[in-house]
Each structure stands twice: as C-alpha cells, then as structure tokens.
Amino acid sequence: MTSLSDIPVIQTPPEAPARGGNPLANVFDDFIRYCRSRSLFMLHYCTGCGAIELPPAMTSRFDMERIGIQPMVTPRQADILLVTGYVSVKTLKRIILTYEQMASPKYVIGICSCTVNGGMYWQSYATAKKLNDYLPVDLYIAGCMPRPEAVIEGLKALRDNIEAGTSDNWKDYYQRYDHYLGNQQRLFGADWQTPTEVIAEAKHYGLFGPDTLGEHTRRLEDHRKPLEPLRMTLNAGRLEHME
C-alpha cells in the first residue's frame, strides 16, 4: 500500500547557509547529531528466530559496541527498537505499546524477511506482514536470517542516516498517526487503543499535522476509557479480605 519512499521524510531544518553563508551556522546541530549517532541504546524485541544472530553481533566476535550501540533493558531509555523476526498479531500489540513508550527521537529496525513481507509465514493467519504499516520503520535488514555482518552493516547505515539527519521516521508516526492507527484498527478491531497519548505528544513535539487526526482517531474517542489511578495500598493483593 505504502512504499517507504511515499512516506515524507521531514528534513531537519534545511541547511541553507544563513546570514551570508556562515560555515559555522549549523555546527551545533551537526555536533548534536554526531553525538546522538555515536551513542545508541537498542531495545531488541526478540520476536522471532532472527534474534539468534544478535548475541554474536553484540558480543566479542562482531561487537556492536565498537560502533556505539549497546543493548538497553527498558523502552524508556532506548533509542532503537529492533524487531527481530516474524511478528505475530498478538506480539504486534506489545510492540506498538513498547514503541509508544520510547522517548523521541526513536528508530525502528526490522530485521529478517518476515518483518518486510511476512517471509516464509506469508500465508499464516497469525503473523503480521508489513511492519511499516503499523510502525514507522527506518531500516529493514532482509535475510532469513541476516548474518551478524548484515546486522552490523544495517546499524552502521542507521548511524550514518542519523548523522546526516535523514532518519526521522519517528516524526511520521506523529504526523500521520491516523494512517498507522487505521492499519492497527484494521487488524485489532475498532476498539483498539493504547494508553499513550500520542496526539498530545504530537502537539508537544510540534508535529501535529493535518493527518494526525482523522476518521480512525475519531473512532478512538468513542472507545477511550479514562485512565484511573491505581489505589496505593500495602498488600494490595489481599484487598478484598480487608474490606
């Protein structure tokens, strides 16, 4: 339906030499992007068999830490979401929840043919086919499964894209939230919702666009249950005995 190239990539402020072509005008932005691309924390969501190639990629033989990439344990502190392999429909829900919890800027990498087009599970009712229908994917590493060399090569490409400022599909998730939500609702049913306030975040980041809201987000409002604070008690598990 959408090819990756149709997704408008929002450039970071155009590098037009301001004020008579001062070569140092963007030096601070460049520096930030350079630093960001050299220190990436990766949340590897090991959904499928492709995850097997990650331990060698991470450990001493191929050692992705030498290009500044380290595994991270929580989505809140991670920059990259690595989806390694087939994504079952049940798992996809969890991946979307995880993705939405990550702080921007965030990048999604789909490893394995299965995330590209369903791979060898193309006929299966249980696995999602195109990851970039549901999440803004920055980079695919195809292969069944890709060797650690390919994984490292892909991560290097992502690093270069971040440094060049061309890898910001995460903005697309806010700008075209309605599109992504529509695909999610098509698969999970009309009452699908996540606890994250994506629309409010879009406003916060200044990424609220004409396609952020639409028919699908309107449907969201019909089903939205207000979040209720949990009651804070000690031994909450035994609450009913106390009352």
Binding site: S5, V89, Y125, D133
Partner: protein, 192 residues
Amino acid sequence: MTTDIGQWLGHLIGQVEGVQHRGRHARRQRLDVAPDALPALLELLQGKGSFVHLSAISCVDWPEDGQFELVYHVWSYELKTLVSAHIRIPREPGRYLSVYDIYKPAAFFERDIHEMYGVFFEGSPSMEKFILTEWDGPPPMRKEFDSENWVNDHFDWQDYHPDWLNDIESRGGGIAIRPDEQRFSRKAKHES
C-alpha cells in the same frame, strides 16, 4: 515380556472390544479403536501396561469423510514403546469425551484441539481460549479455513518494485522474484 511387545500388546488389548492392532515396529504400535472403546483401552494401558505418559493428543481433519481423527499417543518408560490409539469421530457435532480423569495432561491438549479444530470435549476442565486469546475467527486448523484468503483480506503486501530499490539496484544489488510467486495487496489487485 519386552521381547515380543506386539504379541503381548495383542494379548492385552484382546480384552477390549473394537480394537485393531497394527504393529509396525517394536517401539511404535498403532491401534485403531472404536470411539466408545477408547477410555477403557487407555485405562487398561495405563493401569496394566505401564503406559503412564500421555505424550500428545493430535487431531486430523478429514473433510471428505466428514470426520475428525483423534490420535492419543501414550508412552511407556518401561517398555520404551509408543502406542498411538486412533479414533474417528463425526465432524458434526464434533464432540467427544475428555480423558482428563485418566491422564491429567489431557486438559491442555484438549483445550488446544478445541481452539484449533472446534472439537468439544465433554468433562474437560476448561474449554476456554488457550493460545489464540485474541482470535475471533473460525477454528483455524480446520481444512475449510482458507488461510491465504484471510491473509489477503487482512494484510497488505510490500510493493515489488518500490522506488527505493532503484538506489540499491544502481549500486549493483536488488531482488528478483518470479512472476508466479508475486503477491499483491488488495489495492493493487483492485486496480489491475
């Protein structure tokens, strides 16, 4: 006793009516059982034959015959033999007795078969959803469930020649897919 399992087993199951015995190998014995006789047979195998381990219950759909085939695999640690007891039940209404009272692990296998084939086991402790907790379509392992159609209705496929591939091709890479193996999403199908 272990020297001729076939003979010994034949002797044992001679006590139950409606059982046909086909031993293909000392370690692998096949019994074709009438559905009514299966609980009695399993009880006998477990109680007298040391077949204490229920390895699996599997189900086969035979839509032309209008039948489900249920296969109970039981294993004996002493005889090192796997006995597979096959029964056929009518596809409609697809109900059978649970063997949970003989083998406790049957609860999981029966729940799984109920979910995947829609066979209902009377007396099984739980017939709730098991793995497909978020699935509300028909039981997906039945032969009449067309997985490919379902997939085409619910998912889109990646484009075969997206623009970004041009970049890769200009650098000497690329992909080739035979025309008969190409699949197209709803939109492309409607357009063509």
